[in-house]
């Protein structure tokens, strides 16, 4: 073995030349690679990559859809055709219904959750007397409330709004609490030493300081509220985009399922955008 190694180590002119040629090729390869990487950083490269990402997604979808299986997955073309032939006024009504349920539950959750969070964050009594109950209820997934909700509420409509409320409630409360906890003490001292009353201290110092955290909570909450509305509508099958998707499943109009999913995604995205825009207006000083 040692002899072999020695043999390999001794310089053979041909081999050295070959190795150098290889190294040169290697170097130019590397240069080309580096150029390619640099191109990826230019704006044209970024756009090209992003477009190829989306195109790649569609191609992947087509490949998966074309694979033989018991129930054929609709291709993008099927889904588009189904979307075009949609009963549009009814679809818009469904969208509005879901949006309304999410909005109402979300607003109630904000109206109760923000004050409650402030109380728990601020007051000794509230933290010890209310927070443990909140903490005990939190791990129960909101969807597990559906059967009890159906029993309790006289109308399914209320059950769905309760679900969106319940889903949105906890993120709002928890983020408000952490917002209160995160107020820099220096702000409060400064306010006090400048002679602010409790009222001014609260509205002018504490509220602005905790708003960014509250908006984080609202942003998470609207996402979960959408999750809940879809679950509620699927179980109860009472209109809305979730109900539409479920009905498409039951009537075996499979492309329509994907139209419903896309609609749910777009509506959810738009409502998150709405919260983000609101945050941009309300907390201008913070980069959101």
């Amino acid at each position: 073995v040692a002899k072999n190694i020695e043999g390999a180590m001794t310089a053979n002119p041909d081999r050295v030349a070959a190795r150098e040629r290889l190294a040169a090729g290697d170097r130019s390869d590397r240069r080309r690679l580096r150029q390619a990487i640099r191109w990826c950083e230019t704006s044209a490269g970024v756009i090209a990559l992003q477009i190829s990402s989306v195109v790649g997604f569609v191609i992947l979808w087509v490949i998966v859809a074309e694979m033989p299986r018991a129930i054929q997955i609709p291709t993008p073309a099927d889904v588009l055709a189904s979307a075009v032939s949609l009963d549009f006024p009814k679809f818009l009504r469904d969208c509005w219904l879901s949006f309304y349920r999410v909005g109402l539950g979300f607003l109630i959750a904000a109206a109760i959750g923000i004050p409650l969070g402030i109380c728990i964050g601020y007051s000794y009594l509230a933290r010890n007397l209310l927070f443990p109950t909140v903490e005990v209820l939190r791990p129960i997934p909101p969807i597990a409330w559906i059967p009890l909700g159906i029993l309790f509420f006289p109308q399914v409509e209320w059950m769905i709004i309760f679900l969106t409320f319940y889903g949105a409630f906890f993120p709002i409360v928890y983020n408000t609490i952490s917002g209160v906890a995160g107020i820099p003490v220096a702000y409060i001292r400064a306010g006090k030493s400048l002679g602010a009353s409790r009222w001014t201290l609260f509205w002018q110092v504490m509220v602005p300081a905790m708003l960014p955290s509250i908006f984080t909570g609202l942003y998470i909450a609207i996402g979960i509220a959408w999750l809940m509305v879809v679950a509620g509508e699927m179980v109860a099958i009472t209109g809305g985009v979730g109900g539409m998707t479920w009905q498409a499943y039951q009537t075996t109009r499979y492309p329509l399922i994907f139209v419903g999913m896309a609609a749910i995604g777009i509506l959810g995205f738009l409502s998150s955008l709405l919260v983000r825009l609101l945050a941009k207006v309300v907390i201008r000083w913070e980069s959101v």
Binding site: C40, V54, T133, V180, A231, M234, I264, S272
Partner: protein, 254 residues
């Protein structure tokens, strides 16, 4: 000075829980509004005792926990490396992140019909739905974790002659770890939500199915037993992740 003080009072906290149960019982007992329809506390306790010592409970709990762990493990296995690469390499991010962003707004529950239909059996469909639930929080938190790493760490590593692989292991992975653990915990929460929904609608066993079944069979106290059991297992798992997080990331105060 800390706002509201840091003191906590165990007696008051216990009182809070006792009050909660007492108010529930009182509302049911006096049939306030529609609370007459809700099972009372003794009923729930009795149903709970019967259920918790039955074989049904063991098989339900094992079914649900297996699904959760399978889905959560898969999404961590795919999501963490993907997130690390997206956060680290700009070109990779441009190539894959739009795809992630395209699918992200669709909530896991909206995948239920598609999941049931296009997977060969319900089991894999349910696991897929849970997977969708935990995948996105894990990916996004991992990306966020990488992007929040101090740039000087990268520069220092490069100055000290670290190879790309060393930079990856010593800077990217370690730097992102605290945020990855947050993602894992959030993912677990959403996993349970998706699981309950999927089992209610499609499952043939499991805790979510048990709740729905008790509703259909009008065994209402069992519904609340199921909710409590799900809450306990979910909370236990989240606590486990937080505990693991503290062990894995001892330098981070959480």
């Amino acid at each position: 000075m800390k706002i509201g003080g840091r003191k906590s009072n165990l007696a008051l906290q216990l009182l809070s829980l006792v009050l909660f149960v007492a108010i529930w019982q009182a509302l049911v007992h006096f049939r306030a509004y529609r609370f007459g329809y809700i099972p009372s506390v003794p009923e729930v306790l009795r149903a709970g005792e019967a259920y918790l010592f039955s074989e049904q409970f063991v098989s339900d709990a094992i079914a649900s926990t297996t699904r959760i762990l399978a889905a959560w493990g898969t999404s961590a296995l795919i999501g963490i490396p993907l997130g690390l690469m997206i956060g680290w390499k700009r070109a990779f991010s441009n190539l894959t992140f739009p795809m992630v962003e395209l699918l992200r707004p669709i909530p896991p529950i909206a995948w239920i019909p598609a999941g049931i239909l296009f997977f060969p059996n319900t089991e894999s469909g349910v696991i897929f739905i849970c997977f969708v639930g935990s995948f996105f929080p894990i990916v996004l938190n991992t990306i966020n974790g990488v992007q929040q790493i101090d740039q000087t760490y990268f520069r220092a590593a490069h100055c000290l002659g670290a190879s790309e692989r060393r930079v990856f292991y010593d800077v990217v992975v370690r730097g992102a770890m605290p945020s990855v653990i947050v993602g894992l915990a959030v993912g677990m929460g959403i996993n349970w939500m998706a699981l309950v929904a999927a089992e209610m609608i499609a499952g043939q066993h499991g805790l979510g199915y048990m709740i729905w079944q008790s509703y259909s069979l009008a065994q209402y106290p069992l519904i609340i037993v199921g909710m409590v059991v799900i809450g306990c297992i979910g909370a236990g798992m989240s606590a486990g992740i937080r505990f693991l997080g503290r062990k894995l990331v001892p330098w981070q105060k959480t």
